[in-house]
Structure formats: C-alpha cells, structure tokens
C-alpha cells in the first residue's frame, strides 16, 4: 500500500461517507426473460436462445438430473432463508441485444449503466491496460480490446461466444475442474448457466494487460449463474479481475457462479475478485445470496494459481476458491479479506489439495466483523500420500468491531504424508476505543481512523491486488464499515 493512495483514499472517503450502497440503481431497459421455474424445458429454452450445440444441451440436462437428486447443503455456519428454486427466473437478457459485433451496437442505456458503475466500455476511455468483459444479467454485452489480444493469440470473450467459436476448447475443459455434480450450487449452475467469460492464453504468452469481467445483476427476481473458464497453456501468464454489483432490492437474489481455472506446465494464473453485491439493508432485508464454486487446477509441474478476494458485499457469501496442486512443484495461494457488517454473513475460505511432490500453498485470510455480522473462515489443507515435501502456511486473522458480531475459524488439516510441513496461525483482535481515540487525538476523523486501522489489518492481502483495484478495494472497505462505530 503506497502512501499517495492513502491521502486520495481519505478524500474519497469523505465523498462517499453517508452514501450507503451507491450501485443500487436499476437500469430501465426492456428485457426478455424465461418464465419462472426450472425444468428441462427451461434449460432447453436457455440453450436454444444461445444457439448452443447439442453436446452442451445434453451436458446441461445431465447436470440438471444430478441437481434434482441433490440436497441444498446446510453445513456452513449460515442462516439462510429457504430458497424457492421454482420461483426464480433463470434467464433474462436485455432486448435488442443480439450478440453485438462492436460497441456501436450496444444499447446506449447499457453503456450508461456501466459508466455509472465506473466501468467505461469505450476502449479509449477504458482504464489503460485493462480489457473488460461486462455481463449484464444473463448476457455478456461487450468485450473490449479483443483485437489487440487476438494478435497474441489470446482469446478473451463471452462464454457464449467461446462455445460458438472455440467449441473444442470449451468442451475439453468445461467441468474438468468443477464436475457437474460437484455440489448443489455447481450442479444448478451447470444446468442453467447463462453467460460469463472465457480466457485462453497460448503457450509462452504473457498477457500484457489485466483481463477483467464486470458482473451486474439488474432484473428483479433473477438469479445470476455465470460460468468462467480460464486456461493458461504451458509457460503462459494471465491476471484476471472480477467485480460485481447489483441493484438494491428487498428480496434476496441468488448468484451461483462457477469459475474453473486450468494452469498447465509452468503457467501462472492470478485471479482477483472485488465482490460488492448488494448486501441488504441495515435490518437485513434483501441482498444477494452469493453461493459460488471457484476452483483451479495446477495441472502441470511448476504451475501456479493465486486467488485474491475482497468480499464486502452480499447478504450471504459461501465460497471457497480452491487449488488442486497436481503438478510437482506447483504453488497455490489464497489471499482473502471478508467483511460482514449489519446482518451480513460470510462463510468463506479455501481448499488446498496437495497431490504432487514439493507442492506449496499459502493461505492468508482476514475476516472483519462489524454490526451483527458473522464471519467464518473455513479451510481445508489436505496432503495426499504422494505429495512428498508438501508445505502449507496458513494465517487467519479476525478483527472485531463492536460486541454484537462474531468471528469463527474452522481449519481442517488432513496430512497423509509424513514429510509434510503444515503451519497454522490464528489471531483475533478487536478495534479498541483507545485505538480510535488515539487516532482521533491526532486529527483523524472517526471514519478515517477506522479505515486506517482496517486497511492496516488487511494490507498483506490488498498488496496482492493490481494497483487500480487496491485503491478501489480500500474505498469499499471503508464504505462497507460505515456506521459500524460511534
């Protein structure tokens, strides 16, 4: 965290203080939706809308059959209102939005929405060096910088387009990391997923810019089920960012995404998330149910997958970005900040599955609870018999603000090879009245003091984010904690 960012951050804080959730607006746009409910006809409808090949429809139907036999999981430390899966709508797309060939064809109302969100889709106005794919409800509306990436052989497009244009790649890797029947929500996603992003980086190519997807839920009573697949071929490198917002609505909306990463020999994937879905109001009304399955496979030797997440939004967050360390000498990392304020709940963590020799993993988790928020770290480190000399280091820190919130740490460690070295450290601390007063006595406002302390607490994680997003994340942390002191 460099110093100039602080000052700027302090200014921005003042601007946003008292604003609450500022992405809560609704875009007035005509959309085309499937009727509510879930059955094979709806799935066929979605598949047909997207002009999918038969293999994919079959794949969806088989996932649906898995799902029907599965039970909603209840092992997480979460209180979830019952979800009526038949009442939700599984497909919603802005009308007039038939696979735009260029930005000129994108509905101006949509472009304005993204401008309001601070995500310019116009390439010239876009953040230098960040290519953006924007997903609005169920469809991807624009992918910028495509041509430039194309010159290097990098494919970055919507999932739908990947199915049409790069069907073989999709077919080879889809479900290879997160199988259809992996868990209840992954099975649901596999049956009804709408759109998402697809990335392929060819051997030896270092992707020269951050690739970024912006997810936005707009329509009411709609679930969002996006699917992301990233393949880094031998010796390649890619850094990918994901951001999310949703309008403010009184009912809960379901977001069940699946992200699959594949790193082949010597490849590295850095995946960063800034999750700011609508968290619900101060009384816990509304908000997104964020049930996400994210998993990466380090297939090749010396490959590396690094997850960084800043989770500030959603009424409920249930996600465990994981690494399967198959290749010898492969490396998995998980850096996480999760904030729960008001009545938000988060049960998040990671799984590091060590299969190959000399595999290493690092877990740094920072949980911040304020208001009546509940924050659980749940992590699994498993060292399999063939994983000679595997190493894991886990650090789990919890910060409490006020006395009505809770922090919980649930580490599972399974070691099946005696050469393994597994270290786990955990701390819980509280922001004290004395710390706040000390900062205020030096001239910092209450909000600035809180932001300073919280950012200090999280800095090991924030420094893993690309620069522009680190600043954004600092702001979000401050806004999310608004009203939690004083």
């Amino acid at each position: 965290m460099s110093s100039p960012a602080t000052v700027k951050n302090a200014e921005t804080l003042r601007e946003v203080a008292g604003e609450g959730y500022k992405y809560g607006f609704v875009t007035d746009i005509e959309s085309e939706s499937a009727p509510p409910g879930l059955n094979e006809d709806i799935i066929a409808f979605i598949s047909a809308k997207k002009h999918e090949p038969a293999w994919l429809l079959d794949w969806r139907i088989s996932a649906f059959k898995h799902w029907q036999r599965m039970e909603e999981p209840h092992w997480a430390k979460l209180r979830v209102a019952p979800i009526d899966y038949q009442a939700a709508t599984y497909y919603s797309a802005p009308k007039r939005q038939n696979a735009p060939k260029s930005l000129d064809e994108v509905d101006p109302e949509l472009l304005r929405t993204y401008e309001k969100l601070g995500i310019p889709l116009n390439e010239r106005a876009a953040l230098a060096g960040v290519a953006v794919d924007a997903v609005f409800d169920s469809v991807s509306v624009a992918t910028t910088f495509k041509a430039k990436l194309g010159e290097l052989g990098i494919i970055f497009c919507s999932f739908g387009e990947a199915v049409r244009e790069h069907g073989e790649l999709v077919r080879r890797y889809l479900g290879s990391v997160v199988p259809q029947g992996d868990n209840f929500f992954a099975a649901l996603n596999s049956a009804v997923f709408s759109d998402g992003s697809f990335v392929y980086v060819p051997p030896g190519v270092r992707c020269p810019m951050e690739l970024s997807t912006y997810f936005r839920i707009n329509a009411a009573k709609t679930g969002q089920f996006e699917r992301t697949l990233i393949i880094a071929d031998k010796g390649s490198y890619v850094s990918y960012l994901e951001g999310c917002t949703a309008p403010q609505r009184d009912e809960n909306q379901l977001h069940a995404a699946v992200v699959e990463l594949v790193a082949l020999e010597g490849a590295e994937i850095k995946y960063s998330t800034v999750q700011n879905w609508y968290p619900g109001d101060a009384e816990g009304r509304g908000g997104i149910y964020n049930f996400v399955t994210k998993r990466g496979a380090c297939r090749g030797a010396h490959s590396k997958i690094s997850w960084t997440q800043v989770e500030t939004g959603s009424a409920i967050t249930w996600k465990y970005p994981s690494c399967i360390l198959e290749g010898d000498n492969s490396v998995g990392e998980f850096y996480s900040v999760a904030i729960t304020n008001n009545l938000q709940q988060a049960d998040t963590g990671t799984k590091m599955i060590h299969l190959g020799r000399n595999t290493r993993s690092t877990i740094v988790s920072k949980g911040i609870s304020a208001g009546r928020g509940q924050n659980t770290y749940r992590g699994l480190v498993r060292i399999q018999p063939k994983a000679e000399n595997a190493r894991n280091y886990t650090q789990c820190d919890s910060l409490l603000i006020g006395h009505k919130c809770g922090a919980h740490t649930v580490p599972y460690i399974e070691v099946r090879n005696p050469s393994a070295r597994v270290e786990h450290e955990a701390t819980t601390s509280k922001i004290s009245e004395d710390q706040m007063f000390y900062c205020q006595q030096r001239g910092l406002s209450q909000e600035d003091a809180l932001s300073l302390i919280v950012n200090g607490f999280c800095k090991e994680v924030l420094k893993e984010l690309p620069m522009e997003f680190a600043v954004e994340a600092q702001k979000l942390l401050a806004v999310s904690l608004e009203g939690s002191v004083g």
Partner: protein
C-alpha cells in the same frame, strides 16, 4: 490560550474525579501539574482532549476563546490540541510514517494548507529528527507496536514535533525514561517552546523540571488545584511530598 473554570467531571460509575479545577495557561507558557497517584491528572488531560468515558457536570473550558468541550476529539486536535499519552496506544499493521502523514495532512487540510506528498513529508520528518536528535529506527515499524516504554514516549514527542500543536498536554512523558532518554525528550520539549505555544506537563518528578523550567507549578489533589507556585514549588514537593495538600 487555555482557561479552565470550576471544572467538574465524573466517570461512568458516577464517581466525581475532577472537583472544581481552575487553571489558566497563557500563550508561550509552560505549566507543570504534579500530584499524587489517582488525583485526577490524566482525567484532566482526558477531559481536555475529549477522551470518551468522562462526563463534565459543571464548569467550562475556553481554548483560544472557544468552548473546547463542545468540539469532537478530532476537531480539538485539528484546532491545535495535542495530548502525549501516558500510555501510548499500539496500532498493529499501521505503519508509523503512514499514520503520521495521514494525521499531519488532516491537520493541514483543516488549516487550509496544502497536503504534503511523500517526498515533502519525508523531508519534514528528517528535519524534525535532526532537531530532536533522535534516530529514525522507529519510523518503519507499526504505530507503537512492540515499542519499549521509552520508545513510545520518544515517539509521542516526535509526533508533537511534526504536528506542531498550539496546546500540548504531556502526560508523564518523563516516566519510564532512562537518564539519556530523559535529556533527549526534555531537549525536544525545550526546542518546541514557542511564544504561540502553551504546554502543560504532567509529571511526578522534579528531574524533568530541572531540564524544562516551568513558568508555573500546580498541585492537583482530590480533583482540584490545591496549590500553585513558581518552579521552587516543585523542589519543595520533592522534599516534603504531598502530605500537606492531601484531601484538600
């Protein structure tokens, strides 16, 4: 500069700790407050700086002509009030320099001055370190985290030098210092004496006052000032103790 009239304050359990404090400190003056343990010295410092946990039940405090008690703690700081804590607070994870720059820029903004960028700030830091003749070993660490008692006190004086307050209240900044550190801190305080700056030194020891010669010395006992005098009062207290003023 500071005018305290009939100040009464109590703590959460209802006990009245300040019991009619009268104290006037003029610009450019240094006043020492001495008194037995538990007599209310830190409470007075806390009430003046707006520390939570105290309720003022009677009296008034005028600072530069305005009602100090009406301001929030951070507004008081921005108006130039600085408290060197008897027990400086640790803030793990927050870099000392980063903290100080945020604080300084917050004060500068309030004064209508431009904020200092990293380079300008570093220059100012170097100048103050040199003035105070202290090393830069503490700068890269987290605020007070793992500092020794003496290091914490030195850091308080360094912050004071950087923030350039108008009214500095130093609560036992000399306690727990070895003789070299005491000289260093005293030297720092003397360098910061200025015609437009008032200082209130809370101390138990004549020692500090040998180096920093006060304009006035007050004895606080039972929650009020029971005796005031010039610097010779400190020497007298050193010889006879507080017995004569107890439970006044």
């Amino acid at each position: 500069m500071l005018e305290i009239r009939n100040l009464h304050a109590r703590i959460a359990d209802g006990r009245e700790i300040l019991n009619g404090v009268e104290l006037v400190v003029g610009a450019g003056e240094v006043h020492a407050i001495m008194g037995p343990n538990g007599s209310g010295k830190s409470t007075l410092a806390g009430v003046l700086s707006g520390r939570p946990g105290y309720e003022v039940t009677e009296g008034s405090v005028l600072y530069q002509g305005q009602d100090l008690l009406a301001l929030s703690p951070d507004a008081r700081a921005r108006a130039g009030v600085f408290l060197a804590f008897q027990y400086p607070v640790e803030i793990p994870g927050v870099n000392n320099m980063y903290f100080l720059r945020a604080a300084l820029n917050s004060l500068r903004r309030a004064r209508g001055a431009n904020e200092l960028d990293a380079g300008q700030f570093l220059k100012a830091v170097r100048a103050k370190l040199k003035l105070l003749e202290i090393g830069d070993d503490l700068l890269q660490r987290a605020v007070n985290a793992g500092f020794s008692g003496g290091e914490k006190k030195r850091n308080e004086i360094f912050q004071m030098a950087m923030l350039e307050p108008k009214l500095a209240i130093l609560d036992e900044t000399d306690s727990g210092l070895d003789i070299d550190a005491l000289k260093l801190v005293a030297g720092g305080i003397n360098k910061l004496r200025a015609p437009d700056r008032a200082m209130v030194l809370i101390t138990h020891y004549q020692r500090l006052l040998d180096y920093v010669v006060p304009d006035r010395v007050h004895v606080l006992s039972g929650g009020r000032i029971v005796k005031s005098g010039d610097k010779t009062l400190a020497a007298e207290l050193e010889r006879h103790g507080y017995a004569a003023y107890e439970a006044a």
